[in-house]
Amino acid sequence: MLTCQELTELVTDYLEGRLSLWDRMRFRFHIGMCKHCRAFLHDRKLAIKTLGKMPADPIPPDVRDELLDRFRNWKRE
């Protein structure tokens, strides 16, 4: 059986769909049996989803004005 430690190293390949069929079965079997690894997988997925929601800084107003100026110049050329 897959150990918990091994599972924590295979998790990315699992989420990327890059495990072999056999390893995928072992992974899922382990998850089915082990609530700690279920928690680990839940947390990992939540961490990834959280990254996808991280806002970027807004553009500083002076930079925005400058870029719009450049756009007008570009248009004229």
Binding site: E9, D13, E16, I48, L51, G52, K53, V63, E66, L68
Partner: protein
């Protein structure tokens, strides 16, 4: 590049003559047919990879390009509002300070404007803009001796750190100090905690540069593995190793914070 199964392409129209995406494994298509797709190619004729791995320009992307070419300032303003901060965030994984990153992004905008006419729509507008940024950021990073070329790295930069501290497992490899299921159940709930967001940002800043680039492109910006490999000119395995290390580092940082609450 390591070998991958060739992407499956589905032709929407029989006898479609358009270039079939930009993936190196693209069914033996060669470069000689690139650059022949007119900007006005009807979207229905643009063939998308079946797995959606390399995303072609959407009708919205094409409309944006048309309006920019027509000199529509409001469209450009919306584009910079949407992308500027994200480009700076991506640039920060290549150059050492905020000011340089801002410079690189300004260069990028000029690159976007000057390249509009050559945009062929075989990648999404977002991917195209990111590629322009990365080309500029790499040049800048090399000049400042900050950038480690991808090719000189084995299978990822940074030390080969385990995903989870080995001390947390027993000698049988099972959890001795198991993780807690985080109480926050949505990303929004996590991000509402200002401290959590700070820790996340800090964890990302502390990543080795190439891991940081991969994490930003994959998990923050949502590009596919194939797109990231192509844009960074790295192999699929290398990409995955860097993603694994970067995600593990971010996971550890969040866990440290959420569990000390």
């Amino acid at each position: 590049m390591d070998k991958q199964a060739p992407l499956m392409h589905v032709s929407l129209l029989p006898g479609d003559r358009q270039p079939q995406g930009e993936h190196p494994g693209g069914m033996g298509r060669s470069d000689d047919i690139r650059g022949t797709a007119p900007l006005s190619t009807p979207v229905s004729e643009v063939v998308r990879p079946a797995r959606g791995d390399i995303v072609a320009a959407s009708p919205e992307d094409r409309a944006v390009i048309e309006r920019l070419l027509a000199g529509d300032e409001a469209t450009f303003a919306r584009l910079v509002d949407e992308y500027h901060g994200r480009l700076v965030r991506l640039a920060r994984s290549f150059v050492k300070d905020q000011a340089t990153a801002e410079d690189v992004v300004q260069d990028t905008w000029m690159g976007v404007l000057n390249g509009l006419r050559s945009f062929e729509g075989r990648s999404a507008l977002k991917t195209w803009i990111f590629r322009i940024l990365i080309n500029r950021a790499k040049t800048r990073g090399i000049r400042e001796a900050r950038l480690v070329p991808f090719s000189s790295l084995g299978d990822g930069d940074g030390p080969n750190e385990p995903a989870v501290d080995p001390a947390r497992f027993g000698s049988d490899g099972m959890w001795a100090d198991p993780p807690q299921r985080w109480e926050d159940d949505t990303p929004e709930a996590v991000l509402l905690r200002e401290e959590a967001r700070k820790r996340l940002e800090q964890a990302i800043e502390e990543l080795p540069p190439r891991q940081r680039t991969v994490l930003v492109l994959r998990d923050i910006e949502g590009l596919s593995a194939e797109e990231v490999c192509k844009i960074l000119e790295i192999g699929d395995t290398n990409q995955r190793v860097m993603l694994h290390r970067a995600r593990s580092a971010v996971h550890r940082a969040l866990e440290r914070y959420l569990e000390e609450e």
